[in-house]
C-alpha cells in the first residue's frame, strides 16, 4: 500500500510544486496519476521513492515511513523514472545483475526472471550490448526489466509507456493488471486518458500541486454526465 498524507514540497525560489496532497493506493489497485506538465506528478513520485524530501507530511510505502525507514521502503519499490538514460555504459545484462545485487535477488531467481522478462519485452538479443547503443524504447524496456527484477510489492511508474512500442506497452499493461490482481499496489503517471480509462481502478487528478479529484473514472463521469472524459479533464485544467 502507498499512502500520501498532507504532503507539501516547495523548491528554491518559492515554487510550491506539491501543496498538501493526500491520496492512497490500496493493495490490489492500479491508480493513475493524471495531470498536465508541471502539475506535481513527478515531484510526488520522486518524494515517494526517496529522491526528494517533502517539507511536510508523511509518505508510507508498505507501512514504512519513507523519511524514517527509507531503505526498507525502497526495498519494496519498483521504480521507473521518466527518463531511461541511465547506466549507459553497462550492458543490459550487467545492469539487471547490478540491480539484482542491490536488491539481494538470488542467482537462480534473477536468471529465471531475466529470461522471462526479456522474452516478454523482446530484449533477449540485446542484453549483452551496452545500454548506450539502445534506442529510447529499448532503454525504457531495460529499465522496466530492472525495476521488476526483484518482484517489488509496490510499482511506481513515471510515464512508463513513453517510447514503448505497442506490443511492449500492451505487455506492460498486462503485467500491471496481473501484479495488482495478485494483491499489490501500482501507481503510474500518464498523460494519456485512454490508458487511464482502460487500466486504472482509480485516478488521482492533480494540477498546480493540488489534488482536484480522487476516485474512479465512473465517479468522475457521474459528476459531469454530459461530457466525455477528455472534455471533463480539459475543463478541470481550466478551472481556477
Amino acid at each position: 500500500m502507498i499512502s500520501f498524507k498532507n504532503v507539501s514540497k516547495t523548491f528554491d525560489g518559492g515554487v510550491k510544486a506539491v501543496d498538501d496532497v493526500s491520496f492512497t493506493v490500496n493493495e490490489g489497485e492500479i491508480v493513475g496519476f493524471i495531470g498536465p506538465n508541471g502539475s506535481g506528478k513527478t515531484t510526488s513520485m520522486k518524494m515517494l521513492t526517496g529522491i526528494l524530501n517533502p517539507d511536510s507530511g508523511t509518505i508510507e510505502v508498505g507501512g514504512y515511513n519513507v523519511a524514517v525507514e527509507g531503505l526498507k521502503a525502497k526495498q519494496r519499490i519498483g521504480y521507473i523514472s521518466d527518463n531511461p538514460d541511465q547506466f549507459l555504459r553497462l550492458t543490459g545484462r550487467e545492469y539487471i545483475d547490478f540491480i539484482a545485487d542491490i536488491y539481494g535477488v538470488s542467482l537462480e531467481d534473477r536468471v529465471e526472471r531475466t529470461e522471462s522478462l526479456s522474452e516478454r519485452f523482446g530484449m533477449t538479443d540485446a542484453l549483452d550490448r551496452q545500454i548506450t547503443s539502445y534506442s529510447h524504447g529499448m532503454r525504457q524496456k531495460i529499465m522496466v526489466i530492472g525495476a521488476l527484477i526483484h518482484e517489488p510489492d509496490e510499482w511506481i511508474l513515471d510515464e512508463p509507456m513513453t517510447g514503448l512500442d505497442p506490443e511492449s506497452a500492451y505487455e506492460l499493461k498486462q503485467m500491471m493488471r496481473e501484479h495488482a490482481d495478485k494483491g499489490h499496489a501500482v501507481l503510474f503517471s500518464t498523460h494519456v486518458l485512454e490508458v487511464a480509462e482502460k487500466l486504472c481502478d482509480r485516478v488521482v487528478i492533480i494540477r498546480y500541486g493540488h489534488v482536484l479529484f480522487e476516485g474512479t473514472l465512473d465517479e468522475l463521469q457521474k459528476l459531469h454526465p454530459e461530457s466525455s472524459l477528455e472534455e471533463i479533464f480539459i475543463e478541470m485544467m481550466k478551472e481556477k
Binding site: I51, N53, K72, K74, Y79, R93, D101, Q130, T132
Partner: protein
Amino acid sequence: MQVYRKLVKTFLSSTDVDSPRQKNQKLFYAILGFISVCFIMVPCCLLVGYLSYALALGLNGSGIGVTFLTHFIALFSVAFGISVILNVFYFSGDLPMVLPLPIPPYKLIAAKFTAAYMAESVMQFMILIAIFIGYMIGAGFGVMPIITGIIGFITIPVAPLTYCGILCIALMGLTRWIRKKEHVRRLGMIFALFIVVAALSMVGLLKDVNFDGFAESLESGGVAFMNVMNIIFVGNFLLGKALEGSIVALLLYLLYHLFIISLFLVIADKLYIKGVVGILSGGDGASRKRNAKGMQLRTPAKSYLVKEFRTLFRTPAFLLNCVIVNFLWPLLIYVVYVMNKESSAFDKFWILYQTGNEGARWIVALAVFGISVLLTAMNSLGSSAITREGKYYYAMKYLPISYKKQLHMKALVSIIISSVFCFIYIILLSIMLNVDNAVSWYYLILSFAEIIFTTYFGLYLDTINPRLNWDDELNALRGNTNVFFNMAYAIMIAGAFAGIAYMLYVFTTIPLLAMEMILLVVTIVADILMVNICIKKGSENIEEMY
C-alpha cells in the same frame, strides 16, 4: 555576425559553473576559490613569469625564451585539444537542435570553436600574461613588445586548437571507418596518448639543454626540440621575432593565423556536415557483444564498486582524464631527469641519501607525500565521483543502498587507482635510491594514508556542489570546479607540510625517525576526521540534492 555572436553566447552558457545553493556552502566555495587562485594560478603564473624574465635577461632581450615556453603550451594544447574538439564538434547535446537551423556550417563551426577557445583557454591566458610581463621586465617595455604581447596573448591558443579542428574535421569527413561514436572517442584518446608519447620523445631532443646553461643552449640554436617545434608551430617562432622588434615577423604572424583559420573554415564548410551526419547516423560501437558469460551474485557494495569501475573504464573521457592522466607523472620526472642528466645534482643527492643524510631522507619522505597528494587530486577520481553520475544521479537516491556505502565505494575506486600508480612510483624511487625495505614500507603507508585523505576531501567537495548538468562526459570534468579546488588544496597542503617539516628539521633537534612518525600519525588522524566528515556531511548533502 549577429548569428555568430548569439551562437557563441549560447554555446558558452553550457559551460557555466553552478554555485552551491546554501549560504554557508557558498562561503566555503568562495574561500576555496580564493585558495585556488592563491595556490594554483598565482604560483603557476609567478613561476612561468620568472622563467620568461630569466630567459629574456639571459638572452639579452631575445624572444627565443618566449618561443620556447609557448611551444610547450602548444604541445599540451594539442594533446588535450583533440578530445575537446571532438566532443564540442561531434558529441555535444546541442547538435540535434542546431543542425536543423539554416546556418552555414562554417559559421556554426566558427561559433563552436570560439566557445571552446574561450572556455578552454582561461588558464592559458593567465600563463601567457605572465610570460609576456616576465619577458618585458627582463627585456624592457617598448611599443613593439607591448603590441606583440597583446596580440600574442589573444592568439597563441588559437593555432593548436585550429590544428586539432582541421585534423578532426578532415578525419571525420573523409574517412568511413570511424563512423561509430565509440570508435571516434577511442580515437581521440589514442591520439592524445600519441601526443603524450611524442612529447616524451621530443623531450629526448632536449638533451642538449640543461638547467645550468639553459639560456645559452637555447641561444646556440642547436636544440633539436626547438628546431622541430619552430616548423610545426611557426607562429610561436614569428612571435618571438616580433617581440624583438621585427614588424615583418608580426605581419607574417598575423598572416599565418589568417591562413590557418581560413583553411580551417573552408574545410569545415565542405566536410563538417558530412562528418557530423555520419556520426549521428552511425550508431554506437558498443553494440557488439561484451559479456555473454551470464550473471554473477555479488554483495551490494561489491556490485556497486564493479559498476563504478565499468563506467570509468568504458567512458573514454573518464578513462583518459582520470586514469591515463596518471602516466603524466613519469613524463614530468623524465623531463626533469633529461634536463639534469649533465648536471651533478642527482649524483650528489644520491650520495647524500646513501650516506644516511637525514635531510635527504626527509626530502624523499616529503616528495612521496607531495606526489601522493598531487596525483590523487589531479586524477579527480574523488572530486568528480558524484559529478560523473550526471543528470541521472537520482539513481543514487532511489536504490536501497545507503549513501555511506555508496560514498565508500566511490572513494575506493580513487584509492585503488591512485595507490596503484603511487606505489609504482614509490617502488621505482626505492630501487633508484636503494632504499631499505623498512623505509620503503614507510613510504608506501604514508602515501596510502595521504591518498585516503585527498580522496575523501575531493569526494566531500563533490557532494557539496557536483556538476550534474552536462551533455558530454568531458564537459563533466572540465567544468567541475571541485577538481580545481581539490588540486588547490593539494598544492596548499603539500606546500604547508614541506614548509613546516623544513622548519622542524632546521630549527629543532627532533630525531628524523620521530618526525617521520609524527608525519604519518598526523596524516592518519586527518584521515579519520576527513572520512567521518565526508560520510556524515556528504550523506546529508546527497539527501538534500535535487
